[in-house]
C-alpha cells in the first residue's frame, strides 16, 4: 500500500470531531466511485477488450484508480479512524444494456462517462472538505487526475471516429454516448459564473464558454448515475 504523506498525519488532528465524521462520509463516497473505476478498468484489462496500442493508457488509468482506492482507504481507516466502505458489487452491463468487456467502443464510451462523472463528483465536494486543508488538497489532486483521464479518453474516442467530442465538454452534449448518460452532462452548458453571463462579458461564443468551466454534481446526482452500475 502506498504511504500516506506525513503532512496528512500531522495536520488532521486540528480537525474537530464533528468535522471528522463529515470528512469520512465524503471520502467514503469518493472511495465508492474509485472502487467502481478501478474495478471497471481491471476487468477491462483482464477481458482483453482493449486494443493493444491503447493498453498503456488504460494500465496507467487503472494504476491511478487503484492508488486512489488505497489512498482513500488508508486516510479513512488509519488517519480519520473511520470505516472505509467495502467494494460494492458492480454490474457494468447495467442490467444487460451494455457489453463493455466484449465491445471496445462501448468500453471507451463508459470509460468516458465514468471519468467525466468523477470530475463532477469531486468538484461537488470541494466545499464539503474545505475545513481540512490537507483533505481538500488531496481531493483537488485526485480531481485533476480524473480530468486528465477524461480528456484523454474523450479524444481517443474521437480519434477512432466513434464520436466528435473534444477533450473538454461542449455545452451539455453527450455526443454519441448512450442516452442513459444524459444526467452526466446535464448542466455542463452553464455560462453563468459568479452571477455573470460570461458570453456577454467576453463576447466569446456559448459553446467555448461552456467548455471553459466544468460544473459540479451533488452526491445524490452522482449516486443516481452510479446506481445504474450497482449489481
Amino acid at each position: 500500500m502506498a504511504a500516506v504523506p506525513l503532512g496528512i498525519l500531522s495536520a488532521l488532528p486540528k480537525v474537530a470531531k464533528a468535522d471528522t465524521a463529515s470528512l469520512i462520509d465524503v471520502l467514503n463516497y469518493a472511495l465508492t466511485l474509485e472502487h467502481l473505476e478501478y474495478r471497471y478498468y481491471q476487468m477491462g484489462i483482464e477481458s482483453g477488450v482493449i486494443e493493444g496500442a491503447d493498453r498503456n493508457i488504460f494500465l496507467k488509468i487503472r494504476d491511478h484508480e487503484l492508488a486512489h482506492v488505497n489512498f482513500l482507504t488508508e486516510v479513512i481507516g488509519n488517519v480519520l479512524m473511520g470505516t472505509p466502505v467495502e467494494e460494492p458489487e458492480f454490474d457494468f452491463t447495467a442490467g444487460g444494456n451494455f457489453s463493455p468487456f466484449t465491445d471496445y467502443p462501448t468500453f471507451l464510451a463508459l470509460s468516458q462517462a465514468f471519468e467525466d462523472t468523477g470530475v463532477r463528483a469531486y468538484k461537488g465536494q470541494a466545499g464539503n472538505v474545505m475545513e481540512s486543508d490537507v483533505v481538500l488538497t488531496a481531493a483537488l489532486s485526485i480531481h485533476s487526475v480524473e480530468a486528465r483521464h477524461a480528456s484523454m479518453v474523450r479524444r481517443l474516442r474521437t480519434k477512432k471516429g466513434q464520436d466528435t467530442v473534444k477533450g473538454w465538454i461542449t455545452n451539455g452534449s453527450i455526443g454519441s454516448l448512450p442516452a442513459a448518460t444524459q444526467a452526466i452532462y446535464a448542466g455542463e452548458e452553464n455560462v453563468m459564473q459568479g452571477g455573470v453571463d460570461v458570453t456577454s462579458l467576453t463576447g466569446i461564443d456559448a459553446a467555448a464558454v461552456s467548455e471553459g468551466w466544468d460544473e459540479p454534481l451533488s452526491k445524490d446526482q452522482v449516486l443516481g448515475i452510479a446506481s445504474l452500475f450497482l449489481a
Binding site: A126, S141, A147, G194
Partner: protein, 233 residues
C-alpha cells in the same frame, strides 16, 4: 452533515463592477481579512507598486494570483494563433489551439471583471524564449503553462476562504487539466504522458505548487514585478 451540493450563490448580482467590488469587499472584510488598496473611493485604481503589481491579501490576493496566470496563458495563446506554427497546423491542432485561446481569454476576462477595482493591472509578458513558428517550441511552452496552472490552482485551493470562489477555482482547474492532458498527448501521442509519473505520485495525487514556486516559474515569461508577499500562508 454537509453533503449537499454547494450552490454557487453568485459573486455578483449583475455585471456592474462597482457592485461586484462591494460584494468582494464585504465578504473579505467578513472573513477578517484586509482588502489591500480598498477604500471608500469607488473609482480607486488597481493596487500598484513602483512599476509592478501587488496581488493583495486574502481571497482577493488569490483571485489576483489566478488572474495573473490566466493573463499569461491568454497572452500566450493569442501569440500562438497569430504565429507560423498555428498557420500550418493540422485540423486537430488548430481546433485545440483555437479552443484554448478562447478558454483562457474567457478565464482572464472573467477574473478581471470579478475583481473589478481590486484587479491588478495588465501584466507585461516576455515570450522571447518561445518560437511561435515551431511546433516543438509552442507545444513545449503550452505544456509548461497548463501543467503549471493545474498545480497552482491545486496548491492555492486550501487558502481560499469563500466557498463560492473555491468552486469557481475548481471549475477552472479541471479544464486546465483537460488542456494539459491534450497538449501532452500531442507531444507524445498515445503514450501515458497525459497523466505522467512526472506529475502524479504513487498515491495517484497530482503535483501541487505553492505561490513562490509558481510565480518563480512564471517569472521567465512575465516582465512586470509581482508582489505576492501578502498572500496567505
Amino acid at each position: 452533515m454537509k453533503n449537499e451540493l454547494i450552490k454557487p450563490k453568485g459573486l455578483v448580482t449583475n455585471t456592474n463592477r462597482r457592485n461586484f467590488l462591494k460584494f468582494g469587499t464585504m465578504s473579505v472584510a467578513g472573513a477578517g481579512l484586509l482588502l489591500m488598496g480598498c477604500n471608500d473611493d469607488e473609482d480607486m485604481m488597481p493596487p500598484m507598486m513602483n512599476e509592478g503589481v501587488s496581488l493583495g491579501s486574502g481571497d482577493i490576493g488569490i483571485l489576483n494570483y489566478a488572474y495573473a496566470l490566466e493573463q499569461l496563458e491568454a497572452a500566450f495563446y493569442a501569440n500562438v494563433i497569430a504565429g507560423g506554427y498555428f498557420a500550418n497546423a493540422n485540423a486537430e491542432e488548430k481546433t485545440i489551439m483555437g479552443d484554448l485561446e478562447k478558454h483562457e481569454r474567457a478565464h482572464r476576462d472573467f477574473f478581471k471583471a470579478a475583481l473589478g477595482g481590486a484587479a491588478i493591472a495588465d501584466l507585461e509578458v516576455d515570450f522571447s524564449s518561445i518560437d511561435f513558428s515551431s511546433r516543438t517550441s509552442v507545444l513545449g511552452a503550452a505544456k509548461t503553462f497548463e501543467d503549471l496552472g493545474v498545480a497552482a490552482y491545486n496548491g492555492a485551493g486550501q487558502f481560499i476562504e469563500n466557498v463560492d470562489y473555491l468552486l469557481i477555482a475548481g471549475k477552472i482547474v479541471s479544464v486546465e487539466a483537460r488542456h494539459a492532458a491534450a497538449i501532452r498527448d500531442l507531444i507524445n501521442p498515445g503514450s501515458d504522458d497525459f497523466a505522467g509519473d512526472d506529475l502524479i505520485d504513487s498515491n495517484g495525487l497530482e503535483r501541487t505548487l505553492g505561490f513562490t514556486d509558481v510565480l518563480t516559474a512564471a517569472s521567465t515569461y512575465i516582465k512586470t514585478p509581482i508582489d505576492f508577499s501578502q498572500l496567505p500562508s
